[in-house]
């Protein structure tokens, strides 16, 4: 039998020790009514058969590499250095559990501590946790933190926050006594300040903003931060972490909690998962942070050592009074990000961000030159932007036939934005890729 080492002789010997004569007798004390096993599933296959079958399923997918793709919207096709997965696939990182026993887990604990440092340096915040599930759930946890911090019950969310994140926040908060109000956007795609001013009041627990927003535009966070501060609300930012390598750090803009999805840091697209969520905040909110945190301390000989710490926040200690129910997070993906950031360094990372931005703006200018498309929003965007063409469905389909995925149609998420398309670039895009796309658009 695959994956079971004990031979029939050993099994028999062990059963003898227990005074039993068959494996079935191990379940002898269970009520007969529940022993309904024997599920209707196929018999086991050989390793070669499993491999060949799963490979046949894989062949029914088409890898994004077969296309000239401009999809983004939360998952980005950045280059992953070969060294990254060679390190991460070490089974010493891959197969342990959460590092509860620090003496035999120093490697992963130090890697998590380094990860936390990278996130703090990137965001300007004082403290980061060891990761959460993804961007959407990290945003939800950030909002729950804000409710605990302020003991208020009104949540304001910008409508230009990723629609799936907003939906996740609503689900996470559905058992909590609070209201969620969404603030719309101006014709230029940025948050509507007048709307925001009207909404925010002394009951507001937090303002949630995504920047670069879902349309790729960079919000004026400093201004929003002033509103939040004036009303004593917590300012929660969700951000593409790649953008933070070139944008002003959130801590300097009045942001209290910054979170987001770490996929751009060396993560594959993976059909959307696994990725990981990051969350960082100011020191004064440390005890409200959800999830694992690694800390540096000393061992009995006085040498530096690491362990999980501040665990009295967590479910296994605090139970119903914990800051969150999270146990397993996305540790391996976070360690992957630490490795990615170490490999890239400051210049490498900023080059990725700058090149992605420049390519997106090159595409923008090429589209503008066609005079065939509308560019409804402003130019202050990072690596993606919205454009408009009619009829978008037909045009997207035509491009797809030519192996071009132009982007994401927005009407599913924003019914008012018919024929609007969100397109992203990463550093993997060349001018040639972009020229071909635009050429195909003009001469289908």
């Amino acid at each position: 039998m695959p994956y079971i080492l004990n031979t029939s002789a050993q099994i028999k010997e062990m059963l003898n020790e227990l005074g039993l004569s068959s494996l079935d007798e191990l379940y002898g004390h269970l009520p007969q009514e529940v022993r309904t096993g024997n599920p209707d599933i196929a018999s086991g296959l050989s390793e070669a058969e499993v491999k060949s079958y799963i490979e046949s399923l894989a062949k029914q997918n088409s890898s994004i590499e077969n296309f000239n793709s401009f999809l983004g919207a939360g998952i980005y096709d950045h280059y992953i250095p070969s060294a990254l997965n060679h390190i991460l696939y070490r089974t010493e990182f891959y197969t342990p559990y959460t590092p509860y026993q620090p003496e035999c887990s120093q490697g992963v604990l130090q890697a998590i501590y380094e990860y936390q440092t990278f996130i703090c340096l990137l965001t300007g915040m004082d403290v980061s946790n060891a990761s959460l599930y993804d961007g959407a759930s990290s945003l939800s946890e950030a909002v729950l933190m804000a409710l605990r911090i302020t003991k208020r019950n009104k949540v304001i969310v910008s409508e230009t926050t990723h629609p799936e994140y907003r939906k996740t926040v609503r689900t996470y908060l559905s058992g909590v006594d609070c209201s969620i109000n969404e603030v719309g956007f101006c014709p230029d795609g940025l948050i509507d300040f007048d709307f925001l001013k009207k909404e925010i009041d002394e009951d507001t627990a937090c303002i949630v903003v995504q920047s670069p927003n879902f349309f790729g535009l960079i919000e004026d966070l400093e201004e929003i931060g002033r509103f939040a501060k004036a009303k004593g609300a917590v300012f929660v930012l969700t951000a593409n972490p790649m953008s933070l390598s070139i944008l002003k750090q959130p801590a300097d803009l009045g942001v209290d909690i910054v979170c987001g999805d770490g996929q751009p840091f060396g993560g594959g697209m993976n059909f959307g998962g696994p990725t990981f969520g990051f969350l960082a905040t100011k020191e004064k909110y440390t005890r409200q942070i959800p999830g694992r945190i690694a800390g540096k301390t000393k061992d009995a000989d006085g040498a530096f050592a690491f362990c999980l710490t501040l665990q009295t926040r967590e479910q296994h200690i605090r139970r119903q009074r914990a800051t969150s129910n999270i146990c397993s997070n996305q540790s391996l993906n976070a360690v992957g990000a630490a490795i990615y950031l170490s490999l890239m360094g400051k210049d490498g990372l900023q080059n990725v961000a700058l090149r992605s931005t420049a390519m997106a703006h090159y595409l923008y200018s090429k589209l503008k030159q066609t005079h065939k498309v509308k560019l409804p929003f402003g130019e202050r965007f990072f690596n993606e932007f919205v454009w408009q063409i009619e009829p978008s469905a037909g045009i997207l389909a035509k491009l797809k036939q030519n192996k071009i995925i132009a982007g994401l149609a927005l009407d599913n998420f924003y019914p008012n934005l018919k024929n609007h398309i969100l397109s992203a670039c990463t550093e993997k895009k060349s001018k040639d890729d972009i020229d071909k796309f635009v050429e195909n658009l003009i001469n289908p």
Binding site: M1, P2, I4, N6, E13, Y27, V34, G37, P39, I41, A42, S43, G44, S56, L57, A58, N61, S62, S63, S69, G74, T91, E92, T95, T98, P99, P102, E103, C104, Q106, V108, L121, S128, Y133, S137, L144, T168, T171, S174, G175, I246, K248, M269, N270, F276, G295, K298, D299, R319, A322, N325, I326, C327, S328, S342, M344, K346, Q350, L354, A358
Partner: protein
């Protein structure tokens, strides 16, 4: 080796240069993004590729892992992670697909998710699965919100969730996140749910009970059908925390035990690696009348075409962006295909056999918490050892010197000096015997040299780590000064 923090290994000017020519400067970008939005400093280390490789490879060598060590961490099901699964999850057509690609380009992925759901329905008796949740705790959140939504829809909202005192910490934490009051029900001296006590606390205001079976003492809740009756008579639901499903797979299905909503940790029972704390998957299954409440989307099939169905009438919404930890599903599905019906059952049986063998061999040396037959894990109380001056923590630390990752300790909370051992089915009798002899040797060390335990472990890269100091003066990140 040089364990120095990576930030202290930085050499100004050194780099890996993955992009040979970036060709873009900050000055170029300022025409689109005004300078006041751009950052000035970023204190990341400057390192070459080999610097980074060597640093992290050396760090990896400081970890115990399932591939190198026996890892009997109770409630965590640290079974062997078959290598085949990793190869399959690494296929480009799984890893390099974008969640917003048109559905005709991802039919293989959708079929895999759909078929995995069907197989798990067959194994558990549930009617439908969602794979959105990234871990057990997140599935618990979605599951309880489903229960909440169902009661609310029937204009019958309720305020209490019942949780045994032996439950995993995630259960009460989840109930609380969902706005429920937690009512704790005690265990009997034997370690089972006190059914009489339970029948007193279940009332019309009870939304659900959250139950693990076998429970965290490794015991099968023999009166599960009585428990189910008590709850169902009050129109309350049974939530199954499937963290301990491994010994029941193919033998007992949760539906026949009366469960209405369940989660399975694919990173436990279905062999996907734990990754030092994730990614996992909390596969969430429900009975027929709760199908329309699942998170969206779910994968459906029409005329042999698979598609994402967002149209569930009473959906609770979402707990995560996109569709869950898809690559983990590939691994779990490969595992099930490889083992098949008989294989899954053998897994369950051997997980019980291995635990019971350990209990039999150690019960005269360490106090077994229950006289009842255990399932896949056995809990000892090291009270006697404590009386002789050695705590279970110190026993755990000493075990590391034998090359064994310590079992779970101080859990379940209702057991003094608890030591919770889950060997899993993938370990051989030789490994179990090594563990047994190590535990016996430790016992005699406690008799003859108890002072030794204050300093264990002796063979690890660092000595006993001061966790109290870590919490008292938190150092949660490297800083340039003082490093």
């Amino acid at each position: 080796m040089n364990r120095e923090i990576i930030f202290n290994k930085s050499v100004p000017g050194r780099k890996s240069s993955f992009l040979n020519e970036c060709g873009v400067s900050f000055e170029d970008i300022k025409q689109f993004i005004p300078a006041r939005f751009l950052r000035e400093r970023l204190e990341f280390p400057s390192l070459g590729e080999l610097d980074v490789v060597r640093h992290y490879i050396n760090l990896s060598k400081l970890n115990f892992s399932v591939d190198a060590n026996f890892y009997p961490l109770g409630s965590c099901t640290m079974k062997y992670n078959p290598k085949l699964n990793e190869d399959l999850a690494g296929i480009k057509e799984f890893g390099s697909i974008h969640p917003y690609q048109d559905q005709d380009l991802v039919q293989g992925a959708l079929k895999l998710v759909y078929d995995l759901g069907k197989v798990l329905c067959a194994v558990t008796g549930m009617s439908r699965f969602s794979f959105q949740a990234a871990a057990g705790a997140q599935a618990e959140l979605a599951g309880l919100l489903i229960i909440r939504a169902y009661h609310n829809l029937n204009k019958n909202s309720r305020s209490k969730v019942i949780i045994p005192d032996s439950a995993h910490g995630t259960n009460p934490a989840t109930a609380s996140m969902c706005g429920y009051d937690v009512v704790v029900v005690k265990s009997t001296p034997e370690g089972l749910v006190d059914v009489d006590e339970l029948s007193k606390v279940v009332d019309d205001d009870t939304a659900a009970i959250m139950l693990t079976n076998p429970n965290t003492l490794g015991l099968f809740e023999e009166r599960i059908l009585d428990i189910s009756d008590i709850l169902h008579k009050k129109k309350a639901f049974l939530y199954y925390d499937g963290a301990n499903f491994n010994p029941l797979m193919g033998v007992v299905d949760p539906f026949s035990m009366g469960f209405d909503v369940i989660h399975l940790n694919l990173h436990k029972t279905f062999s996907t690696p734990h990754g030092s704390g994730g990614p996992g998957v909390g596969a969430l299954g429900v009975i027929d009348k709760l199908k329309e409440f699942l998170p969206v989307p779910v994968v459906d099939k029409k005329n042999d075409v698979y598609f994402f169905n967002y149209e569930l009438r009473n959906t609770i919404g979402r707990v995560k962006a996109f569709y869950g930890n898809f690559l983990v599903l590939v691994k779990a599905y490969a595992y099930i295909l490889r083992l098949g019906r008989q294989g899954l059952k053998r897994v369950a049986e051997n997980s019980v056999l291995n635990a019971r063998y350990i209990k039999e061999k150690l019960k005269n040396h360490y106090k077994a918490v229950s006289l009842k037959a255990c399932m896949h894990e056995v809990v000892f109380s090291c009270e006697h050892q404590r009386d002789n001056g050695v705590s279970v923590l110190e026993i755990a630390k000493r075990l590391i010197d034998f090359g064994i990752h310590p079992p779970t300790i101080y859990f379940p909370l209702i057991v003094k000096e608890a030591l919770m051992v889950e060997p899993t089915e993938t370990e051989s009798k030789e490994t179990l015997d090594h563990f047994i002899s190590a535990m016996k040797e430790i016992n005699s060390e406690i008799q003859f040299s108890p002072q030794k335990f204050k300093y264990a472990p002796f063979t690890t890269p660092v000595r006993r780590v001061d966790e109290t100091a870590a919490a008292r003066s938190p150092d949660l990140r490297w800083k340039k000064t003082g490093g």
